[in-house]
Amino acid sequence: MKILQTKGLVKSFGQTPALCGATMGVSRGEILAVMGPSGSGKSTLLHCLAGILVPDDGEVWFDGQRLDTRSDERRSELRRDRFGFVFQSGQLVPELTVEENVALPLLLGGARRAPAVAEARKWFGRLGLDGLEQRRSGELSGGQAQRVALARGLVTGPEVLFADEPTGSLDSVSGEIVMNLLTAAVREQGTTVVLVTHDARVAAYANREIIVRDGAISTLTGVEA
């Protein structure tokens, strides 16, 4: 059963084509690595899968329903309620404490502050962040900041976690710690992961990889779509 699927995705930015008929799928609970050279369209594919971008042509399906034809508002709800995100460089809010950053998706979803922060704190021990709750993002190392970003991505218990180069700004040891924590957490929760990376050692944590080349999925890796 595919939780996410695309059929013939086409997306251009002005005159520049980014996706040219990308067809692929992700099974529920799978960790899928999306690889490919710079500019191949892998981040555009992730943004279309997550409903951040709407394709010019083709279809995106999530949990048996069309995603790309929904309104902006409905896609925002979906991203808030059922998806989680981790990006290359944490993108934490510098004015907030670390625990407020982790609780942010819950607060944006309408949760009250006290239960949201309590839920956020559950992640600190699991991700080796104990004692950092009251710090600001500027007081964290790169590896700590990415673990906070990971906690924020997982705090709502998303069905799909979208991770775009989650270790791209880290050294290899810090990256390994983040990937070990990420895979342990998502396997425990049964979360599906779409992991965009150019790093083969990061992709090796996935169950399977697809290669995006010139806006399409390499035939060798796209056969399960």
Binding site: P37, N180, A200, R201, A203, A204, Y205, A206, N207, E209, I211, S218, L220, T221
Partner: protein, 174 residues
């Protein structure tokens, strides 16, 4: 890897019987390729002949005759020199990957498809090694990391080559 110098290094750690050397070699360095006893004793014989180690007196016991081997100063100097030298940095320059790509291009076969298949095989092996790291002891992790970084280097070469096939084809075709 040099088996004689590795055994000599183990002897520098402490004087040992052939049996101990085999056990320690297999534990730390063998990784599924254990040494044969005959290989251990033949190597100890050569190290003795070359003045790198000396056998101690025969020790009587319940089992077969045993001698404890001791490293000499010349042996210590060899180990020290070996450990201070870099290993050959280009051991795989003429690797099978290289040969297959060049031959595919020469024969006008699908070199790009070969590289895709090789990439998938490399990534599969990297998945296995990553899984091993999550379960292995620290030595397994150290060895798996060495293999992972080497496979990653191959993959970078594969990706780099994949985008230059047209240029390379011109260089090798008649």
């Amino acid at each position: 890897m040099s088996v004689p110098l590795t055994l000599l290094g183990l002897l520098e750690r402490e004087p040992s019987h052939g049996y101990d050397l085999k056990r320690d070699y297999d534990t730390y360095f063998g990784r599924g390729k254990p040494l044969r006893y005959s290989q251990v004793y033949a190597t100890l014989g050569r190290l003795t002949r070359d003045g790198k180690a000396v056998p101690g007196p025969v020790e009587q016991g319940a089992g077969p005759e045993r001698r404890r081997y001791v490293i000499t100063d010349a042996g210590v100097a060899d180990v020290e020199e070996w450990l201070s030298e870099p290993a050959q940095p280009e051991p795989d320059l003429q690797s099978e990957l290289f040969a297959k790509v060049v031959l595919s291009l020469m024969l006008d076969r699908a070199a790009g498809r070969y590289l895709d298949i090789q990439r998938a095989a490399h990534l599969q092996r990297m998945r296995e090694l990553t899984d091993l790291k999550s379960r292995g002891d620290p030595l397994d992790v150290l060895l798996a990391d060495l293999a992972l970084f080497r496979l990653e280097a191959d993959l970078r070469w594969i990706d780099h080559t994949a985008v230059r096939l047209d240029l390379l084809a011109k260089a090798v075709r008649r």
